[in-house]
C-alpha cells in the first residue's frame, strides 16, 4: 500500500518555548482509518495542523509524497481535507451552499462542477435539503456533518478530523460513525472519546506529552488497560472483554 502521510523526526515548539511535539515519526497508508488518541494537551490537534502545513517545525512531513512547502501547499490542500474542532470555525459563509462551494471554487472548478460537487457532498452527509440555510440555523449535529461536507466537496484523498464527536448526543454520534465508516478516503481522527475511536479506527496512535507512546492495531492498543490508564485514558466499552481476557492471562 502507498503511503499518504510520512512524518520523520518532526518537532514543534509553541512560541512561548513549550514543546508541543517531540521527534514524531509516523506514516499513514492509503485507505487507513487512524485515530490519534491521548489526553488533553497531548499534541493531537497540533499534529493534525502539522500534516496540513499550518504548523512549521523541524523534521520532514510528506503528504502523498509532496514535501510541505510554499510551492506544494496548494496541491496539498486539495489532497488533504482538514476539518477543525469547532464547526463554527469551519462554517464561515452566510449559507451552507456557499460554505460547501468555497473549496471547489478555490480549486478553480467551473460553476456547473461546483454545483455538482456541493449537491453530492450534501447528499452524502444527509443535508441535501438544507443547502440554502444559514449555518446558525442548523443544529449542533447538522453543523458537525456540514463541516465534513465542506471537505468532501473538495474530494480529498486524506481527511483529518479534530474531535469530530465533540458535544454530540448518542444518536448524532452514531450517525457520524456511520457516515465516517462509509467514506472511502484515508481518515485521521484525533479524539479523546475511546468508544468513538474504537468504532471507526483500524489503527491507533497513542500520543502523550508531544510524543508517540504506542502505534499499532487499534484493538491491541485500546484494549491494553494498563497502557490506557497510565496515560489518562480508558478502555472502550466494546474492547473491555478483550482487556479482561488479556489481564487474566
Amino acid at each position: 500500500m502507498s503511503k499518504v502521510i510520512e512524518i520523520e523526526n518532526f518537532s514543534y515548539e509553541y512560541p512561548d518555548g513549550t514543546a508541543a511535539l517531540s521527534n514524531i515519526s509516523l506514516s499513514v497508508e492509503h485507505g487507513q482509518r487512524l485515530t490519534l488518541i491521548g489526553p488533553n494537551g497531548a499534541g493531537k490537534s497540533t499534529l493534525l495542523l502539522a500534516m496540513a502545513g499550518f504548523v512549521k517545525g523541524t523534521g520532514k512531513v510528506l503528504v502523498d509524497g509532496l514535501q510541505i512547502n510554499r510551492q506544494n501547499l496548494r496541491k496539498i490542500r486539495t489532497l488533504l481535507g482538514c476539518c477543525l474542532e469547532n464547526p463554527d470555525d469551519q462554517l464561515f459563509m452566510p449559507t451552507l451552499f456557499d460554505d460547501v462551494a468555497f473549496g471547489p471554487l478555490n480549486m478553480g472548478l467551473d460553476a456547473e462542477q461546483v454545483k455538482n460537487r456541493v449537491s453530492e457532498a450534501l447528499k452524502t452527509v444527509g443535508l441535501a435539503e438544507m443547502a440554502d440555510k444559514a449555518p446558525h440555523h442548523l443544529s449542533a449535529g447538522q453543523r458537525r456533518v456540514a463541516a465534513i461536507a465542506t471537505i468532501l466537496s473538495m474530494a480529498p484523498k486524506i481527511i483529518t478530523l479534530d474531535e469530530p464527536d465533540g458535544s454530540l448526543d448518542p444518536r448524532n454520534r452514531k450517525n457520524l460513525i456511520k457516515l465516517l465508516s462509509g467514506l472511502p478516503q484515508t481518515l485521521i481522527i484525533a479524539t479523546c472519546d475511546m468508544n468513538f475511536a474504537a468504532a471507526i479506527a483500524d489503527r491507533a496512535v497513542l500520543l502523550d506529552k508531544g510524543g508517540v507512546i504506542a502505534d499499532g492495531d487499534a484493538i491491541k492498543i485500546m484494549s491494553d488497560s494498563r497502557l490506557m490508564t497510565e496515560h489518562g485514558l480508558e478502555v472502550p466499552g466494546q474492547f473491555k472483554n478483550i482487556a479482561r481476557r488479556s489481564t487474566s492471562n
Partner: protein, 258 residues
C-alpha cells in the same frame, strides 16, 4: 442559540420572497429616499406611503407584530429626537382633518412627522430583510457593484454576530451565577473590562481558526462565488407596480394632502 433573528421569516416561500434581491433593494432604497424627502409638516401623507411596505409584509406573510416589535427595539433613539421637537419649536399652526380643525405647535407636527417617517421606513426595511435571505441580499449588493471587501465583511458580520452574542450571554450568565453581592462601581467596571477582554481574546482566537479553515480549503486571497440570481418577469412587474405607486403618490395624492 435562541436569538430572535431579524431574518427569521426570510426562509419562507411567498411571491415577495421569490422576487430578486436587487429589485427589492433598489425599490426599498428609492422608497426610503421618497419618504425621507417629504415635508416635515405633513404627517397625513405618510399613511398613504405606509401602504407599500404594509402590502409587502402582508403578501410576504410576515406577522405585523414581529415588525412592530423590531421597530420598538430601535425606537428609543428616534423617540428622544422626536419628543424634543415640541420643546424648542412652539410656533402655532392650524391643522385640518376633514371637518375637524384644531390648533397645535409646529414642534408637535415635526415630532409626528419624524415618528411617522421612522415607522414607515423601518417597515420597508423590515419587509426587505424579512423577505430576502441575507446571502441573496449580499449577492445582490455585489451584483449592484458594492466593493467585494465590504460584502465579505458583511457576510462575516452576519455569520459571527450571533455567536458573539451567544458568548457574551454565557459570560454574563457565568458572572451572574457567582455574583452574590454588589461590589461597587469600580469593582464592577473592572469585572466588565475583564469580561470584554475575554470576549476579545476568544474572538481573535476564532478569527485565527476561521483563517486556517479558509486556507485549508484553498483560499489565497481571491474571493470567488457563484451567483444564483436572475431577473424574471415577476421582478419587472413588481418594479413597475412600485414605480407607479411612488409616482401616483408624488403627482396625484401629495398635491391633494399638502
Amino acid at each position: 442559540m435562541h436569538h430572535a433573528y431579524i431574518d427569521k421569516f426570510a426562509y419562507q416561500d411567498s411571491p415577495v420572497h421569490r422576487l430578486d434581491s436587487r429589485v427589492k433593494f433598489i425599490v426599498t432604497l428609492v422608497f426610503t429616499a421618497a419618504v425621507v424627502s417629504l415635508p416635515r409638516t405633513s404627517p397625513s401623507i405618510l399613511t398613504c406611503y405606509a401602504i407599500g411596505p404594509f402590502m409587502m409584509l402582508v403578501l410576504g406573510r410576515i406577522p405585523l407584530r414581529f415588525a412592530f416589535k423590531h421597530i420598538l427595539l430601535v425606537s428609543p433613539f428616534i423617540l428622544v429626537l422626536a419628543v424634543t421637537c415640541p420643546l424648542y419649536d412652539r410656533t402655532p399652526v392650524a391643522v385640518a382633518f376633514g371637518t375637524f380643525l384644531w390648533q397645535t405647535s409646529l414642534g408637535w407636527m415635526r415630532c409626528f412627522t419624524i415618528l411617522g417617517k421612522f415607522i414607515v421606513t423601518m417597515l420597508a426595511l423590515i419587509a426587505l430583510v424579512s423577505t430576502t435571505r441575507f446571502s441573496d441580499l449580499l449577492t445582490g449588493l455585489q451584483k449592484l457593484g458594492l466593493p467585494k471587501l465590504l460584502i465579505i465583511q458583511l457576510g462575516f458580520l452576519y455569520r459571527y454576530i450571533f455567536i458573539l452574542i451567544d458568548r457574551a450571554h454565557h459570560i454574563l450568565r457565568a458572572r451572574a451565577g457567582r455574583k452574590l453581592a454588589n461590589l461597587g462601581f469600580a469593582a464592577e467596571l473592572k469585572i466588565a473590562a475583564a469580561m470584554l477582554g475575554s470576549l476579545l481574546i476568544r474572538s481573535i482566537d476564532s478569527a485565527e481558526h476561521v483563517n486556517i479553515a479558509m486556507q485549508a480549503r484553498g483560499f489565497e486571497g481571491k474571493w470567488r462565488s457563484i451567483s444564483r440570481l436572475k431577473i424574471r418577469r415577476c421582478d419587472l412587474l413588481f418594479t413597475l407596480t412600485a414605480v407607479s405607486f411612488l409616482l401616483g403618490l408624488h403627482f396625484f395624492v401629495k398635491p391633494i394632502l399638502l
